[in-house]
């Protein structure tokens, strides 16, 4: 037998890497944000997007109703087949409604991409560990739910493939972006969900 690796070495070679800085990785992955209608989860991902877009009218960022981001994205994607819809959510928010991945897989709208910014922790409540830093793999759950185009990004050189995945293709896609526990960018966004609804619809040319 050739070289042998110990169990510990093998495990560390395949262990998830939470090393990327979300403040650089999220903008690099998304690219030109104006190309998307964007829905976010709570806390970290809402700040990622508010900072990136200057709290743009093409974004709907949440601060409650945890577990709803992916399904808001689905309703929007079905309503606007002419636009690309991006859901940017965290591991904690997605864990609260994993069934939505199954629902999205069945509908499979080609204009919907989900990016889970996975830092393995509940940052907003004091960085308690989430299931994803204890062995749960959300890309495998997305793939097992039936989403056909999935990808995990852990290193800088993997980001380009993710940028392509969320912009191209004929099926819904899912990207797991593993990041460190660095704080999301600070940004004071509009927290009024009715204001945000009105400005979003107005930007799309809809009346109140």
């Amino acid at each position: 037998m050739a070289t042998r690796t110990s169990g510990a070495e093998a495990a560390s070679a395949t262990a998830p890497k939470f090393v990327l800085d979300r403040r650089k990785a999220v903008p690099a992955l998304i690219g030109r944000h104006e190309d998307f209608l964007i829905v976010t989860g709570l806390a970290g991902t809402s700040k990622d997007i508010a900072a990136l877009t200057n709290d743009g009218a093409h974004t709907y960022t949440m601060a409650g109703a945890m577990g709803g981001a992916c399904m808001i994205g689905l309703g929007l994607a079905l309503a606007r087949r002419d636009k690309r819809v991006l859901v940017l959510t965290g591991d904690g928010e997605l864990l609260m409604n994993l069934g939505s991945l199954a629902t999205i897989a069945i509908l499979n709208p080609p204009n919907l991409s989900i990016v889970c910014v996975d830092n393995g922790h509940y940052g907003e409540t004091g960085y308690q560990r989430s299931h994803t830093s204890l062995g749960v793999d959300l890309e495998k759950i997305a793939a097992g739910s039936g989403i056909k185009r999935t990808l995990t990004i852990e290193t800088q050189d993997e980001i380009t493939a993710g940028t392509r995945l969320i912009r191209e293709g004929n099926a819904a896609s899912f990207v797991l972006l593993r990041v460190s526990t660095v704080e999301p960018p600070g940004f004071k966004r509009d927290l009024d969900p009715a204001n945000c609804r009105a400005r979003f619809r107005a930007a799309l040319g809809r009346a109140q």
Binding site: Y60, G75, L76, L78, S100
Partner: protein, 180 residues
């Protein structure tokens, strides 16, 4: 089928559930979300057979609350079909509906009310209307086919013109209790 039976079937007015479906479609409802339910079978089957709508099977009812908000952001109209037990699964997600002032239309088949034989259905059956009202959803109860159609008609105006959140409750007096 004999000629006379065919003639009878052809002259029979459509069931009230079919009239409800036609009413929703006439009002441009294009997203039908549901967890499978016997009381909503006609509406679900018609949405599945209708190429003009998205028929969205959910894993839990709260997904439908978020879906309808997304539909509204994109300028589309949706309806959530569920059993009263599913209302309990929606409560926190209705923060989105209420806080965002999203239009919200739900049709709810009641369990745990008139003639229910399953004791498990009573807690949520009794709680359905109070918890919906606590989350700022107006409830319209209907006990006959005429009331049901009138209530859905009223709800469509309240939801899509006034921007309200409304649930139409189809009682077991209307639907009939499931046999156990």
């Amino acid at each position: 089928m004999s000629t006379s039976a065919a003639a009878t079937a052809a002259s029979k007015p459509p069931a009230w559930q079919d009239q409800v479906y036609d009413l929703l479609r006439k009002n441009n409802v294009t997203q039908f979300a549901y967890v499978p339910d016997a009381g909503h079978r006609t509406l679900i089957d018609r949405s599945l057979a209708d190429p003009g709508v998205h028929s969205v099977a959910l894993t839990t009812e709260e997904e439908g609350v978020a879906l309808l908000a997304g539909a509204d952001l994109g300028g589309a109209r949706g309806v959530l079909l569920m059993q009263s037990s599913g209302v309990g699964n929606c409560i926190n997600m209705l923060s989105l509906t209420s806080g965002g002032r999203f239009p919200f239309l739900a049709l709810i088949s009641m369990r745990g009310d008139f003639g229910e034989g399953n004791p498990w259905q009573y807690p949520m059956g009794k709680a359905t209307q109070p918890v919906l009202e606590a989350m700022d959803v107006t409830c319209l109860r209907s006990e006959t086919p005429e009331e049901a159609l009138a209530a859905v008609n009223a709800a469509v105006t309240m939801v899509f013109q006034a921007g309200r959140a409304v649930a139409v409750l189809f009682t077991q007096k209307l639907l009939g209790a499931k046999k156990f």
